[in-house]
Symmetry: C2
């Protein structure tokens, strides 16, 4: 766990200050692959922090279409929504360890501890920036550009920036990028033909030419 917490050093470093007071305020839970963490319509009393694993936060349309709003990895906080009722749901992409916090409890804590309040604010800001970056990708990019942006974003979470392990299926990627499984697959295959990446297996991506991907999303 400690190794994974170190990912994204600046964030992890900042988190230390929050973890001190928050450690005992939360409850550690384990969620199996594909299991629900919270559902649309549920209440917003709890929010969560990822210890290990990957979480997807998503929304469904009545016809079954799904939009994944965000993937969350170790160190990130999710589950904030205005109002009482959730409009989003969250599931474990793979087995996950999380800490759940009672919102009211943390808000009380934040009143006393200025650092907690500030940290909490930063977490929400982080989610906001992530959502806005996501909107840019969804609105103004072609299929290949979307996939390139996804790979680069994911590489940032990787220990070894040259070998990415994808925790999620092609369907998850497609639903995150507003594409179909087939378009994701075709883009990846094309990148491989172009010598930009290698795909040792479906879940692993070796980055051979990061610059080429950067150019696409520039």
């Amino acid at each position: 766990m400690s190794a994974q917490m170190e990912i994204g050093t600046p964030v992890a470093a900042r988190m230390a200050s929050l973890d001190q007071p928050l450690r005992m305020a939360g409850t550690v839970i384990h969620v199996g692959e594909g299991r629900e963490i919270f559902a649309e319509g549920g209440d917003t009393h709890l929010f969560y922090k990822v210890i290990s694993g990957v979480v997807r936060v998503c929304r469904f349309l009545n016809d079954g279409r799904r939009q994944i709003e965000a993937f969350h990895v170790a160190g990130e906080v999710f589950g904030f929504e205005p109002g009482e009722a959730r409009s989003l749901s969250a599931e474990a992409v793979g087995d996950c360890s999380l800490v759940s916090y009672r919102r009211s409890h943390i808000e009380t804590l934040a009143q006393k501890d200025q650092a907690v309040a500030h940290q909490l604010f930063q977490y929400v800001l982080q989610n906001l920036a992530q959502a806005q970056g996501h909107a840019l990708v969804l609105g103004r990019r072609g299929a290949a550009e979307k996939v390139a942006a996804f790979l680069l974003g994911w590489a940032r979470h990787s220990l070894d920036k040259n070998v990415i392990h994808l925790a999620m299926t092609r369907q998850d990627i497609a639903d995150y990028l507003g594409l179909t499984i087939e378009s994701v697959s075709r883009s990846l295959s094309q990148f491989e033909r172009d010598g930009v990446i290698a795909l040792p297996n479906a879940r692993q991506v070796r980055m051979l030419n990061t610059d080429a991907l950067e150019d696409l999303v520039a």
Copy 2:
């Protein structure tokens, strides 16, 4: 939603809760149509609240493509970003009156006044929810559905829910929805032919059959 002020209530009442402590903390500014409020690369020292008018917050790609992340109307707060440097820019869609707040100043204030802290948090949460709703529209909806969602969203801001006045151009709408000018225009024309809306002029939309639009975005 509880913290979101209803548009349509008197301005003074709408802003009362945050304005009581914040009134003297902020500076009222007026921004002419199309003028920049802040730019990508600038610092994040200030954030803003809309008194009147409409603001667009957007991002540009190197090739000139633009994605409008959000439109903000009276009562809404915008300009929050993590880090020191902005990755977004903001412009007045039409003439605007805003209050600008110094972030450091407000944070000091929030330490003392619990209500301010809570209110601030709600505003950011509101922005987050808005961004996530936007992502759903961008990722998983066709052109007509996008335009329908936009009209309904905008109708919520309208005094008279049956006659919408659009503050922005077709280009703005297109850049918000990830479409082209032409697709927006065609969708609107189609709605008009179907008797769902009327277009007395380019900036005014009369809602004739809201349910039909609701069905599209259901």
